[in-house]
Subunit: 276 residues, 2 copies
């Protein structure tokens, strides 16, 4: 990433005390200008309008936009500005590129699960104590659920989350945040969760039985990359009376196994898919 | 694009001259710190590590992080920092929320098209002179194509793009950027494009015949929201010898028509879906 490396200026205290207020104000103004793009981040907004929205003089806005432009946070288009590539890159680093690649590889398996089972199908990865959904497919009679593409839910109360937490090495029970309760069935006791994760590790299948939303049941299987580390999980979810673990498990296992085989075969080096 | 022209406004310094260097440096430092999170934007990084990566004193990093925290651009987690909600909101405003809602509504139709036709299926919206893909489904034998979820391609050389450009009111021929060439079949003459768009407006169906990638053919239909304005397009794409416009058009029309009906029925007010 552009190592705008050190100017000699850094030798002297970085933000001189007497300039403190100005630094403060400059960063505040920069953030306010970026936030002022609102809906038009990609289409472009004129300086007068940005200045008006950010409640500053047009001349100030110009000056700050110039600094932001030099930093790649905004771009000039004609007489307007739009948000710059670097801003998007900051929220969307190499991690997201890996996720895009993973989604690209696994979409056919998500489609396959949905075609075979016909219930809402998810593809998710672990991110800290949350899962992030890379894909979600459903038909016309979908059941409302808290997942959405790009969104996150706590791992401890979802089948996809537990399918991934189960393989964390070393187990992170100690480092886990408080297990928040979502329904009367949410597991909030770390010891109980660890016991369930051990069972999931042995069986290779995870369930969420109304633990994040009453009436919603999910079944998930991990998809392994090289080194036997799961990189994603596939799940189906639906109303408790339609989701039958024993019935759906064989199909899920078979498709997840094919997906794992593909990931291992595609891995250019053993390190490629081993990091989440 | 980057016509680094100097505006007259720059004459009156809004940030007093003697603070200019400091403001500059403060914003540069803030951007460098944000970029220093790299992969760990959501998991958290310690201040020493951030300072090392951004090549600045730890004390400076602290000070700048404090200002960024007050602005919601970073958040403290224990002794670490992670990227803040406001940063994500800046790149992901109300526009994206509308897109998420649109995707949520239209996924069943994307699934339906893929199940009926079996070729790569896209859902896309227009954004300026580009299309942005909200969904992409394909089976195990996918054909490589330049589209990816969240990514963009120029509208003038894709079927989804033309299906949407055709309904722009008033036609934006004059305001269009140079029509870039991607293959020998890309339409680069604005008059020719406008003639094709007029035909698309009459027929309700758009084609891309190897205009963005040799060997790739696409067929797209618009999905209309209230007020008769298209809000998205559905397409199928695949190798030229497999994609037959006449054969696939009736199914695409039927599914897009159901999708339009749903969007109109769901619109809480007439303005909800009328803006792209």
């Amino acid at each position: 990433m552009s190592s705008r490396s050190v100017s000699a200026a850094h030798q002297t205290p970085l933000l001189p005390k007497d300039h403190g207020h100005s630094s403060n104000a400059a960063i505040d103004k920069a953030v306010n200008l970026l936030a002022a793009f609102r809906d038009e981040g990609s289409s472009g907004v004129g300086v007068s309008e940005l200045a008006r929205r950010a409640d500053m003089y047009k001349s100030t806005a110009y000056r700050v936009l110039e600094i932001l432009e030099r930093n790649g946070m905004v771009e000039r288009v004609g007489t307007c500005y739009r948000l710059g590539r670097r801003l998007y890159e900051i929220g969307h680093g190499p991690m997201n590129e890996r996720r895009d690649t993973l989604r690209d590889s696994l979409i056919p398996f998500v489609v396959d699960v949905h075609q075979h089972i016909g219930e809402t199908t998810h593809l998710a990865v672990l991110d800290g104590s949350d899962v992030v959904y890379l894909a979600k497919l459903y038909g016309y009679r979908q059941v409302r659920s808290p997942s959405r593409v790009g969104g996150r839910t706590p791992a401890h109360c979802t089948a996809v989350g537990k399918a991934l937490l189960a393989y964390e090495r070393p187990p992170k029970a100690q480092k886990r945040p408080v297990l928040q309760r979502y329904t009367s069935r949410t597991i909030t006791d770390p010891t109980e969760l660890d016991m369930q994760l051990a069972r999931i590790r042995r069986s290779g299948i995870a369930f969420d039985d109304e633990e994040i939303q009453p009436g919603l049941r999910c079944v998930a299987v991990p998809v392994f990359g090289p080194n036997g580390i799961p990189v994603a999980a596939l799940s189906i979810s639906g109303p408790t009376d339609r989701i039958d673990g024993r019935k759906h498990t064989p199909i899920l296992r078979r498709i997840a196994s094919s997906a794992s085989t593909l990931l291992v075969s595609r891995a250019p080096s053993s390190s490629q898919h081993s990091r989440r």
